[in-house]
């Protein structure tokens, strides 16, 4: 675990260095299971050219939050979507990995829906965060944003040979526990993957981290290890999560885990400070450097995805 953490820290340092070079953003290239950072520029354009398709991940828009360090989370979501729209190639779809809203209020869902219509993309796929299921176990969320494949809300789809799986790990949480997938969803996942060949690239997304990133702050999922036993036989697995409002990554065999930035506000690095609340004391004008979007390109014939994280400018 210490080694993993060191890797994460050195990756973060590298990332911060890149931000100093470029400011606008960083291109993450995955080569043989290891991420390489590179500033956005000619390389990014070249990478985009040989991609067969791309999609964008956004996360943790927290519509309804209105405190330091971000009094206007609608505006930062709008800026994030403008950045998506400014990409040279239009993404095939967007993934929103949860915490659309801050308090699951109907008017917050209304605002989110309205803003998402500004994204120039044909589809948006959603999974709920724990902030989206308060008081009704997600009934309102699923009514508005659910895929309606399974009663539990989880789903999968295929896109250009890549199998995508949206998991729900923010419901039926137990006292003292972390995120939870539950026996029924795990059984479905096992069945969903059973007929796929090991060469099929997988992208699995859920709100809370699907690995024990920092359990004492609730950053993990109790039964994620069971899910990983179903994923391990595949040659390329990318796991995309939100929840922690910062980029962390980890490589475990053929499985690479990523967490995304928020479009609303940053949270501290694991264990830094008393708790995982919003980072309030940002230097003036620095907020946008902590927010951002993720652009993922699929390169045909390669077993890897090129992952780019961009800060708001």
């Amino acid at each position: 675990m210490q080694n993993e953490h060191d890797n994460e820290i050195s990756g973060r340092r590298q990332f911060l260095k890149c931000m100093a070079w470029a400011g606008a953003g960083t291109l993450w290239l995955m080569k043989g299971g290891v991420l390489h950072a590179q500033s956005l520029g000619d390389g990014a354009v070249a990478s985009a050219k040989d991609a067969s398709f791309s999609f964008v991940q956004i996360s943790d828009s927290h519509i309804g939050f209105h405190k330091a360090p971000n009094m206007d989370v609608a505006e930062t979501l709008r800026a994030s979507l403008a950045q998506v729209n400014a990409q040279s190639t239009r993404p095939d779809f967007l993934l929103h990995t949860g915490d659309l809203t801050h308090l699951s209020k109907p008017e917050e869902f209304d605002t989110l829906s309205g803003l998402m219509r500004e994204a120039r993309t044909s589809r948006v796929f959603y999974v709920p965060g724990e902030h989206d299921v308060i008081g009704d176990n997600g009934a309102e969320f699923f009514r508005r944003f659910g895929e309606r494949q399974q009663a539990g809300g989880w789903y999968s789809f295929d896109h250009h040979g890549v199998h995508f799986v949206g998991l729900i790990n923010v419901l039926n949480l137990k006292a003292g526990g972390l995120g939870s997938l539950g026996a029924e969803q795990l059984a479905w996942l096992k069945k969903d993957l059973a007929s796929l060949s090991a060469e099929t690239p997988l992208v699995v997304f859920a709100h809370m981290p699907l690995w024990p990133l920092y359990p004492s702050w609730g950053w993990g999922t109790d039964d994620s290890a069971e899910a990983m036993t179903y994923l391990r036989r595949f040659g390329s697995v990318s796991v995309l999560n939100g929840h922690i409002h910062q980029i962390q990554q980890k490589v475990e065999g053929n499985i690479t885990f990523y967490t995304a930035r928020s479009t609303a506000y940053p949270q501290p690095a694991p264990g830094v400070g008393p708790g995982p609340g919003p980072m309030k004391d940002l230097p003036p004008g620095a907020l946008h450097h902590y927010l951002g979007i993720r652009d993922v390109r699929h390169v045909q014939g390669k077993q890897v995805l090129a992952v780019t994280d961009e800060v708001l400018t």
Binding site: K67, A68, H102, L103, S104, E130, H131, I134, G135, V170, L173, K174, A175, G176, G177, L178, P215, S216, W217, G218, P274, G275, P276, G277, P278, K280
Partner: protein, 115 residues
Amino acid sequence: MKITASRWLLGVMCVAASCVQPALAASAAATAHTSQIDIRNFAFAPKTLTVPVGTRVVWTNRDDEPHVIVSAGALFTSSHALDTSDSYAVTFSKPGTYAYFCSIHPMMVGSIIVQ
């Protein structure tokens, strides 16, 4: 018939008296025994609270994140989402140990021991 009626009357009086007495006791307890639990930095303070029967326990959220109070065994009604500075109160009228947690940050746990 007269005896029955007076017994009935006595019964009514007893019922009335037994209704009034706990109500008075409860309202006296409400003013005498209110205990506070602060929610700060994703933790309940105090984490374990011991109170006499009839105590009104008030949780107040001091975090910038919302929290939701849920009884681990559904022994009391859950709160709505408590935003910053919001409070939630439960009066505990029976002895026992009441474990609870935050439904959206389940690593936050606490218990109330009612004696």
